[in-house]
Every structure is written in structure tokens, then in C-alpha cells.
Amino acid sequence: MRYVRAEDRPPNGDAPPGGHVDPSPMLGTWFATDKQSAGVVKLELAERDGAFVVRAFGAGSPEPVDWGEVPAIAYAKSVMSEEGMAVSATYDFGFLESLLAAYSKGGILVLDTFNTFKDGSGRSAYFSREFFHR
């Protein structure tokens, strides 16, 4: 079995679980802990027809901006675990690409966003880190 670090190898030669990571521990609606956030204010993580999806809402005035639903990938804590504890998804708005990457720990979801503008507006690529509760 090929690897690029020890973490890629199942311990003791055990058989891997099959490759499916169950996102259910992360499913639900998550709200930003910072009610004055100018970034992402709400995340909906759901399963739709067997597919894991995310729907994000950005801070807006007078209403949050609905980013719509995109496919998401669930991650476990090891190659042998099937329990989802992290998620990634990409939004391509045309003028902007946002990579969302989050992990859950102790009832909190920690979201990092990596944002790159493609519209020649001169806006800098920027990073954000935000915290969410259900």
C-alpha cells in the first residue's frame, strides 16, 4: 500500500474500512459565534440523495447572502476511521473562488476560508478563520 507519510498506513497491516466517511456527526445548521461577523454567518451541512453537501451564507445587508449548495468532502481523523470530523468544499462565484475547510471539535466547528479574486478588481487574496456552534 503506497504512502507519503506513516499516517497513510493502516496500523498492524489491518484492512482499511472501505473508504466511506460518515458525515453525520457534522450534519446540521451551524451559526457563527461572532454575531458581528463580516464573513460566513451560517453553514448548513446535509446529506442529499446520499451525497454530502454544504450551503453557506455570507454576511450581507439587509439579509445574509445565500451561496447555494455545493458538494462537500468528509474527512475522518485517520485512514481507519469512518467518523467524519472535517469537511472541505469549494465555491466558484465567477469573480471569486472560496475554499472552505473546517473541522469539528468539542461541539465547535472551526472554519478556514481561502479566498481568491478572479475579477481584476485588485482585491487581495485573503484568509479567514471563524467559529460556529449548532
Binding site: 507519510r5 493502516p10 466511506h20 485512514v79 481561502f114 485573503y126
Partner: protein
């Protein structure tokens, strides 16, 4: 156009300065089973990432994209990069926290081995 208020166009922007990210970064955890060290270097207009996995696996080089804290630009506080091996894809996502580099690796296997996609985090200091 904006997707959230933090996207709003500023009065003035500054190019991203990647220098806070550059150098050789070593893992605090000498018993890590993930990444032992990484190097970020400027080569022309590119930021080049070089990773070594444990035990002594050279991942080679890939381009890293730096990120500032706001649309105004300025000093880099984070980067993202991707490694595409023929059995696993790894997104390397990192940010600086008081000179500590926090590196998250999001790995997805596509070799039919049955291994789960997984997330792992490590912390690095500048040599």
C-alpha cells in the same frame, strides 16, 4: 461584487508580502507520523513549497498561494497548496498564529485501497 461584507473593495490595496511565510519550518512534534518539515521559498513570482513526510519521504515541490488577512493585502498570514500523487490527493492549508505555523492536511485516496479520507494537523516553528 461580493459574497460577504469582508469582500468589499477597499480604498487602497497592497500586494501580498509572503516574507512571514518563507523559510524552513520544523514540526514541534518529533514523534509526528505526518510532515516532519517544510520549506517555503520565493522563486521569481512564485512561492514554492517543499514537504518531507515521515519517515523521510520527499514529496517534492509544488506552488503555494499566499493569503493576507483582508482584501487590503499586506503581510501573508496563510497559504494553500496541493499535492497530487497517483494514489492520494492532499490539500495543504496553513496559517500563521504568532509565529507558529499551523498546517492542516486534507487527504483523499483514489487508489481503491479503502482508506478513509482524513484530516491531520501539525504545528511548526521557523528554524
Amino acid at each position: 461584487m461580493i459574497s460577504r461584507l469582508s469582500d468589499r473593495l477597499p480604498d487602497r490595496t497592497t500586494p501580498i508580502d509572503p516574507s512571514p511565510l518563507l523559510g524552513e519550518w520544523l514540526n514541534y512534534d518529533v514523534a509526528t507520523r505526518n510532515i516532519s518539515r517544510l520549506t517555503l521559498a520565493q522563486r521569481g513570482d512564485d512561492i514554492v513549497l517543499h514537504i518531507n513526510g515521515v519517515p523521510d519521504v520527499d514529496w517534492g515541490e509544488t506552488i503555494a498561494l499566499p493569503f493576507a488577512l483582508t482584501v487590503d493585502g499586506g503581510e501573508a498570514v496563510a497559504f494553500k497548496a496541493a499535492y497530487g500523487f497517483d494514489f492520494v490527493n492532499i490539500a495543504v492549508l496553513a496559517y500563521l498564529n504568532k509565529r507558529l505555523l499551523v498546517v492542516d492536511a486534507y487527504s483523499t485516496f483514489h487508489d481503491g485501497s479503502g482508506r478513509s479520507s482524513y484530516f491531520v494537523r501539525d504545528h511548526f516553528y521557523l528554524r
